[in-house]
Symmetry: C2
DNA sequence: ACCGTAAGAGAACGTTCGTTTTCGAGAATA
DNA sequence: TATTCTCGAAAACGAACGTTCTCTTACGGT
């Protein structure tokens, strides 16, 4: 019982932390705000996360896992390898359309703390590496050459920041259009020089 | 004389502010650090910039103008419209290769403060809009369709963040490769469906 | 019923930060 | 020379933050 309760308390803290950290930026959110939002007293909060840094890292790691899980789950609703690769951008479009979308939490935290916190920089890098590996699998399954992975990564990353700053989900469509063209070109095996 | 001196004092403050704000993140840099780095006493600093917010905005606006100017200057060393468009990515490669490269200052400041400061959000948006307009001109000059602009923007933006987090300038090359393919496809006027 | 313990609410502490004020020295003016 | 003004160095102030501590209450075991 105790452990179950502790588990849910931890989840409540992380839920509050994620909403606040992502929505306002990490440094603008104090531990008091997390206490208020989660309803968990400071004492217990510090028993579970002994410092704000540890809470930040836990927030990022949980978001990392869930983000990739949600993406993979969406992609899994498609069968054709080509459609699975392009479905990534449909999922991005849904994400960008959420009313409180504010860019990629890892890009944001890297820009905010990456220069001073090696831990945050490492988690952001690990997240982007994992995303790249996932795309690499989709690209390989679509019988496309490896180098297409790097290009698709750039389109996805660019769409995240452009959608955030412009406040529109359209970049996901533009990225999908570009990815479709690149995929088709790759399939055609065109090799020329400009 | 007074105005000239004030001018150089303002520049010294902005030079220090830019290095610190860009290198460490805005919120991690205190006014004391800027005083120390610039050698300008706090009193005078507050005479020229009446608040940290105003200094932040001045930093972003000056960086915006200089960034686009430097890019255009580099692009202007090429003649062929196609090469001019692709030269953007060569310039990005040079930028990413600087030892203290830490991503796009506007993406970073947007992630850090965009949720709370409308001014910062607006400046970031204006900067990206200006960048997009510049690329649109290059795309039009290369006789490519308008929609290529959106795709090239995404490649460039994606390269900035991927280079920052991965710590490598290679994303600039990958973006250039993709842009070349998209440009060629656009020129060929291929219109098909997947 | 009694005692020990845990736990919540919030005060308190020490530090940092943005901003203002003070103080003292030096230059310009009458 | 006496006085006013300017300006740099640094102290000071008020708020906010991360973290710890205190006090009170309520519950569990005997």
């Amino acid at each position: 019982m105790i452990e179950v309760e502790l588990e849910t308390t931890e989840q409540r803290i992380l839920d509050a932390a994620e909403e606040l950290f992502y929505g306002q930026g990490i440094q603008l959110v104090g531990m008091d705000a997390i206490r208020t939002a989660s309803g968990v007293p400071l004492k217990r909060l510090y028993q579970i996360f002994p410092s704000k840094n540890s809470l930040v890292e836990a927030y990022l790691k949980r978001r990392d896992a869930r983000w990739l899980h949600d993406l993979a789950q969406y992609v899994d609703s498609y069968d054709s390898p080509t459609q699975r690769m392009l479905a990534v951008f449909d999922w991005l479009f849904l994400w960008f359309s959420e009313p409180d979308y504010r860019g990629c939490g890892f890009i944001n935290s890297f820009g905010e703390l990456g220069a001073t916190s090696q831990a945050v920089a490492d988690i952001a890098k690990a997240h982007k590496d994992a995303f790249r590996r996932y795309l690499a699998d989709l690209v390989a399954a679509a019988d496309a050459p490896t180098w297409l992975t790097d290009q698709v990564v750039l389109l996805a990353e660019g769409a995240m920041t452009t959608a955030a700053i412009s406040g529109s989900p359209e970049p996901a469509r533009h990225a999908k259009d570009a990815a479709r063209i690149l995929l088709r070109t790759a399939h055609a095996g065109v090799v020329t020089a400009v």
